[in-house]
Amino acid sequence: MISKLSHVSIYVLNQDSAYEFYINKLGFKVHTDAPMGEGMRWLTVTAPEQPDLEITLIPVKEGMMFTKETAESMRKLVEKGTFGFGVFECKDIYATYEEMKMKGVEFTKTPKKEFYGIEALFKDDSGNWFSLGQKDGVKS
């Protein structure tokens, strides 16, 4: 029986730039940074309060996951902002939003009260988008 999700992948255009974004702008932590030879690198990060879910930053390039042709197609899709990879939660969306904005993160939706909570949308350095939510923002 499946008990939990241990790894999830995000396709990024450049691992060094993604490292800078996820570690220095989002405040994530490096879980594993292992050389795989020939320019390949296994890089996983974790959200500050979820150390057991490794987010794998997979470079979209020929090699580990992709053929040359697939990588070219995927890069175009990632750049276009095709992929939304998930929802990140925070305790205080206004403070989180302000901090991320001060660090240069691009938001496509400012925090807005929805029926399910307060939500904002932002993009990572590759063009992938995420929802940022505060669940307990709407209690009444």
Binding site: H7, T32, A34, P35, M36, G37, E38, M40, W42, T56, G63, M64, M65, K91, D92, Y94, A95, E98, E99, M102, K113, S140
Partner: protein, 152 residues
């Protein structure tokens, strides 16, 4: 609607608190006077501490200490000596650093350093143990050549 209107105009307050938090993030190794940060943020000390704790769950002082310990963990992971780490993150005595580190992390700084030296050695010697097999199997040429090369 009224709640939204009530929260949004206070964004300027959030900005001041966030700026104070970022100030700690950047200057954690300095002898930060929290009174000065409160003044910079145009708050009374009491109001500043109350708002900071409401947002971040810790008082500014607790947050500063946790930030120093987090930075210490990062430096220890890079194989920096315990003494160098202690002073470079802003502590003035090894005993207070080690005591706080152990209280927050659960093990001493030297044990943490050793633990990460071992992990690094294992990653260097057996990288496949840290990578799910499905990714390694996706490209057998990488598995057969590059991984062995990485393990040399």
């Amino acid at each position: 609607m009224s709640k939204e209107n009530e929260i949004y105009p206070k964004v300027y307050l959030y900005r001041r608190i966030v700026q104070a938090k970022l100030y700690i993030d950047i200057n954690y190794e300095d002898n930060i006077e929290l009174d000065n940060i409160a003044e910079e943020a145009y708050f009374s000390k009491f109001h500043f501490i109350r708002m900071f704790k409401k947002i971040y769950g810790k008082t500014p002082y607790q947050y500063l200490m946790h930030t120093r310990i987090e930075k210490a963990k990062q430096l220890l992971q890079k194989n920096t000596t315990v003494t160098n780490v202690c002073f470079s993150v802003g502590f003035e005595s090894l005993s207070s650093f080690s005591g706080l580190f152990k209280r927050i992390v659960g093990i001493s700084p030297s044990a943490y350093l050793l633990q990460h030296q071992r992990i690094k050695t294992r990653i260097r010697e057996q990288p496949l143990n840290f990578i799910p097999g499905c990714f390694a199997d996706k490209n057998t040429s990488v598995k057969k050549s590059n991984f062995e090369e990485a393990a040399e």
